[in-house]
C-alpha cells in the first residue's frame, strides 16, 4: 500500500479555524506531559498557567489588568 502527500486544492474555512484551536489543545497536552516529566503536578501547573491569572478574585483584580497591559 502506497501513500502520497499532496496539497489540497481548496482548504475549507472551518479547517482554518480548527487548526489554531487544535494547536492550542495539543500544546496543553504536551505541556501537561512536560510538567509531569519535570515532576510538577500537570493539572495544577496548567491551572496556574492559564486560569489562575484571571480566576481568583485577588488575581483577577491585580493580574487581569497586567494581562491587558501585556496584551496591548
Amino acid at each position: 500500500m502506497r501513500w502520497r502527500l499532496e496539497p489540497r486544492t481548496a482548504v475549507p474555512w472551518w479547517l482554518e479555524v480548527v487548526a489554531p484551536l487544535a494547536a492550542l489543545g495539543l500544546t496543553l497536552l504536551l505541556s501537561a506531559l512536560m510538567f509531569a516529566a519535570l515532576g510538577y503536578p500537570p493539572l495544577e501547573a496548567l491551572h496556574v498557567y492559564l486560569v489562575a491569572p484571571v480566576s481568583s478574585p485577588s488575581c483577577a483584580s491585580r493580574r487581569s489588568p497586567c494581562c491587558c497591559a501585556r496584551w496591548g
Binding site: M1, P7, L15, L50
Partner: protein, 285 residues
C-alpha cells in the same frame, strides 16, 4: 504584542517576512524615551501624543533598512530584519549605559524616570491598566478596516497570493513592500514607547522580554486576521503572566513560558501542514 502582531500581519499577508519587530520595538522605545526623559517636571499630558509619534517614527526608521535592501538589492528581509534586531539590542544597551543613563542611578543601566505628566494615564484606578490597551484595540479596528475594506488591504493580500497579478492590477510591489514594512515598524515602535511611558516608566535594557518575536506566534495563531490576533494576543499574554505566577506558586522556572510558546508555534505549524496537505492512498498497480 497585539500592536506588533498587527503590523506583522500586513507583512506576512504581503509575503514580506519581517522577523525584526523586536528591534523595531526597541528603537521605538529608545527614540520615544530619548525625548521623554528630558521633559520638565511640570510637563502637560499633551506631550504623550508627540512621544507616541516619535516611537512610531523610531520603529518605522528601523524598518526602512530591510525595506531599502529588499526593494533596491533584492536582499532577503528575513536576514536583514533579524540581524538588525541584534544591532538594536546593542544600540539600546549603549544608550542606557551612555547618553541616556540616569546620573543618580548608581550606575545601573537605565534612564532617568519619566515625569508623571509624560506617563500614559491609568484608566482603572488601583490597577496597571493604562491607555495603551484601548489604543491597541483602536489599532486593531483600524487594521481590520484596512484589511477587509480598503484598497491597500486588497493590494497587500494580492501581493502575497499572486505578485504578478498584483502588478497587473496596478499595485506597485516595491511601494507595497515599503508600506507594509514601515507600517509594521511604526506599530512595533508604538508598542515599544507604550511600554516605556506605560508600565515601566523609564528606559532600560529589558523593555521587552521578546514581545517582537512572540508576536510572530500571535500573528499566525490569530490566522493573520485582526480579530483572531486580538484573541491570540490575550492567550499568549496569559501564558506570560501564568509563567510568572507558576514561578511564584509552584517554583516552575520562568523559561518554561518560552518552551510553552515554542511548543505552541510548532504544533500550529504542524496543524497548518495538516490543513494544507492531505495523505492520499495511491491505487494498487
Amino acid at each position: 504584542m497585539l500592536l506588533c502582531a498587527l503590523g506583522l500581519m500586513f507583512c506576512f499577508r504581503a509575503g514580506v517576512w519581517n522577523i525584526g519587530a523586536e528591534g523595531q520595538l526597541l528603537m521605538g522605545a529608545a527614540l520615544g524615551s530619548a525625548l521623554a526623559v528630558h521633559m520638565a517636571p511640570d510637563v502637560g499630558g499633551w506631550i504623550i501624543v508627540p512621544l507616541l509619534l516619535l516611537g512610531m517614527l523610531g520603529g518605522a526608521l528601523w524598518a526602512t533598512v530591510p525595506a531599502f535592501l529588499k526593494t533596491r538589492f533584492g536582499a532577503n528581509e528575513i536576514l536583514s530584519s533579524l540581524m538588525l534586531t541584534y544591532v538594536a539590542i546593542l544600540l539600546l544597551s549603549a544608550l542606557v549605559h551612555g547618553p541616556l543613563r540616569d546620573p543618580d542611578g548608581s550606575n545601573f543601566p537605565h534612564s532617568r524616570p519619566i515625569q508623571d505628566g509624560a506617563l500614559l494615564p491609568v484608566i482603572v484606578e488601583g490597577t496597571r491598566l493604562h491607555l495603551g490597551a484601548p489604543l491597541a484595540l483602536l489599532a486593531a479596528a483600524a487594521a481590520l478596516f484596512v484589511h477587509a475594506r480598503h484598497r491597500l488591504g486588497f493590494g497587500v493580500r494580492l501581493l502575497g497570493l499572486a505578485p504578478r497579478a498584483a502588478g497587473y492590477a496596478g499595485f506597485d510591489a516595491g511601494r507595497l513592500t515599503w508600506g507594509v514594512l514601515l507600517a509594521s515598524g511604526a506599530l512595533a515602535g508604538l508598542a515599544g514607547v507604550i511600554e516605556v511611558i506605560g508600565p515601566i516608566g523609564r528606559l532600560n535594557t529589558s523593555v521587552s522580554p521578546g514581545y517582537g518575536f512572540t508576536a510572530i506566534i500571535v500573528a499566525f495563531l490569530g490566522r493573520l486576521h485582526p480579530a483572531g490576533i486580538i484573541v491570540a494576543a490575550a492567550v499568549v499574554a496569559l501564558s506570560y503572566l501564568g509563567g510568572e505566577l507558576a514561578q511564584i506558586m509552584l517554583r516552575i522556572p520562568n523559561a518554561v513560558t518560552g518552551v510553552f510558546q515554542g511548543v505552541l508555534l510548532f504544533t500550529l505549524l504542524g496543524c497548518d501542514f495538516g490543513v494544507r496537505y492531505r495523505l492520499r492512498r495511491l491505487p494498487a498497480e
